[in-house]
Amino acid sequence: MTNVKEHKNITCTFCGALCDNIEVEVENNQIKKLRNVCAISRKKYEHALEDRTVPMINGQKSDYQSVITKAAEILKNSKNPLIYGLSSTTAEGQKNAVKLAELSGANIDSTSSVCHGPGTMAKQLVGMVTATLGEIKNRSDLMLFWGANPVEAHPNHSKRYSILAEGLFKKNRSEREIIAFDVRKTPTAKMADHYVELEPGKDFELLMALRLLINGKELNSEKDEIAGVKITEIKEIAEKLKNAKYGSIFYGMGLTMTGAKYMNTWAAMSLIRDLNSYGRFVMMPMRGHGNVAGSEITMAWQTGYPFAVNFSRAYPRYNPGEYTAVDLLANKEVDAAFIIASDPAANLPHQAAAFLKEIPTIVLDPHWNLTTDLADVIIPSAIKGITATGTVYRMDHVPLHLRSFLEDQWPDDAEAVSRIGELIENA
């Protein structure tokens, strides 16, 4: 007897856009049909039940309870462990990870530190004028994409929330003007009305030039250009910004990863702030991982700080550049690592990730990845939004509850982390 079940309004957890309109048809614990998925999402669902991890200790197959016990032992015996990742687990998993960090006197950092963390640091300096995605869809008459390429990183973003979306006051593409700022003509830039190509690493200069103009100051440049953009063009852009009724800027790693790091975002935030003296203007970090926003949110309500937290003194301390994963690993300051739902061996600078080979490393992940290759302990896990429930926060901090629609043999991240915590707490 076949038993086909339809699930509607499923949330895809791949990227920070968290599309919640996925439709899935399930038969015999297999996905039969998918609707409303993007190219990446489709692959994610199709591959969900493949390449699954199993409990392993030092390269030998083990059982679930043993890997949990071993993980607790490693963290307990460590003097300065690192708990890292978090952006692809649920808020429930993240909360338990913060508690575990507290119990084990650990450093805890999320992939935010190599993503939009610098933007959060900038927010701590100037604040940020933002809005939920629906607000931008409904109102924004001028949309800027700065160092952001959602067509490839958040494929359904333009359709659901921005360029092509149907909004309450702005009904379609023709009612919006789009400008893309980038160092290369990305597929997103190709969708824009205007593409502004900057010299690499000159975002700060261009942002400050715009800021000077909108604050009524003069621009001077011997070459008659700033950041590779003609002064006349900068002036035209400044006028467009000033005349927007409800402008918006989606910014990506093009701001946070280039030379000036958080100062780029500082300049963007200051510009957007100042623009609110004309019309309204808001900005949105294009958060990459599905629940990276959640990692900052949950850490903040528990510790007061968004990432880069250290518990060696039994209370939380915060210092990006010191308690951030790349620095802790590169400086060889930590003596054990617990990687939760992340793949630092693929995504962190090689010399930082390589240090994981030298210290006891635990990986909690549903799938094999490059970091599981160098882990001492591997804890399998259910897949959030597919075989596990939980909470995720979209790039604009809108929370969504995940339902599960397939069966799994492994407990979810939250439970694994909580069990390890209990072993340490009750030891």
Binding site: T120, V126, T130, E135, K137, V282, T298, Q302, G304
Partner: protein
Amino acid sequence: MLKLKNALIYDPKNNKAGVKEDIWIENEKIVAEPSERKIKELKEKDILEEIDLENKIVMAGGVDIHSHIAGPKVNSGRVLRPEDHRRDNVPRKGKLRSGVGSTVPSSYVTGYRYSLMGYTTVMEAAGPPMKAKHIHEEFNDLPFIDKGFLVLSGNNYFVLKFISENNFTALKNYLAWLIDVTGAFALKVVNPGGVEAWKEGKRMRGIHNKGTSFNLSPSEILLALAKANDELGIPHAIHVHTNDLGTAGNFKTTNETLQLLKDYRVHVTHIQFSSYGKTENDKVKFITATDQVAAEINRQPKLTVDIGQLVFGEATTMTADGILEYNLHKLSGNKWVNTDVEMETGSGIVPMNYKKKNLVNDIQWATGMELFLKIEDPWKVFLTTDHPNAGPFTAYPWIIKLLMDSNYRNDYISGMHKNFDDYTDLSNLTREYDLSEIAVISRSGPAKALGLENKGHLGVGADADITVYDNLEKRDIAEVFAKPKYVFKSGRMIVKDGELITELQSGKTLMTKPDYDPQIAEDIREEFQKYYSISIDNYGVTDNYYKKVEVVPCNFKG
């Protein structure tokens, strides 16, 4: 069973002021004194615990009617201000989680500090419906206290639409649905119409002008919401943050609002920020207008207010009133967060430092104090700092001292700006609150206004949320109220000798469930699916977010 004996009971609801009596507690509730036979039996079985409270002041646990303690805006304030936390670290102790404090403490520390101060119920002041899950997630990490949240509804698309269409039935159904699916306690109305105007890039003044794409005046919105709220029987009044809040001369708008709504239940929150006069030809501009506002409050039988008393020092302003925070940013130059929430509301955050040498801050401080002293009936006025807007809730004991001790108050005023008396008349006010009045403004009054029949008093059937203070003889009033001797929550001791017992305990989430026709969700579906960015089927808060719930009945009858 627990017996608190020889307590000096201050229980204004039950007309007890310093009456020496015993309190009996069983199963989280205050119960009648058992029969002698039962007492004998309890003693024989050794299950009667007795605590002698000879010479101690006993009140119901504190109830805060308006405080920003959880949710997206509060949390954004935490992230915004690492400098707020760094010098206020709370290490892990026993099973008590660590955290940080200062004006926007972490969730655990918020629970600790309310408990340490003898407060056991707190109402989160403003929640955007779309992010309600976040509020409930934080509630589950906010220990000890009972809490609920007020759901923002004064600039909501469907609210404005139904009012503009004169569809009152749909409005009522929608509001009840909104409270139900978000797990809210009551309705919050912030700068009605004015936040939508801010999102449209417009400015509104007063309550009579129409100004947004909905073509509604604030007064039309206020009237419809007050009427709907009364008809739904929600235990609490509409909880109003007035239009023009924070601006010089706004007392006129405030009094117009109070008069407009005189036939309905209304609670006006942090009214200190809404009671300013305006001095022309004077660069200070601000002057207190407490005579006018207090007179209107004294005249109206149904009205309640809380003060939002200013406290000198660090504060973090945060409100759904987006335009207000923009103005504060322009005024102070301080960092500024704004978050517009689609279809529902706005919000903003700006850190502030209120200074005694700043005359405007002095006037704001005096405005709050004058209102406390000029509103005659303490059942109409409640103690708040609009935490963390006008100051942190941890300043309540200091405010109590200012209210109870006019000598201390006058000494304090002597340190104010030299022109203080030109703009205020606080120096002329000699009233002092007594302990019963303090009990009213800090627990009995707010509990009554919220419609929490089991809270704010010590009668039989009340929740066993009880605070025990040292008596005031030869003690500093602020010290006494800052460090209760014992605090009991749901019948269990959580604070002893000014320290938390090192076990975590979860409080309840307070909700209401007004009746509605579920068809409303279908009626709004099409527009919701188009103009929200999430599906209506993913909008509501699901049961997994609720740990311990108490549904307060909607039995108000007009």
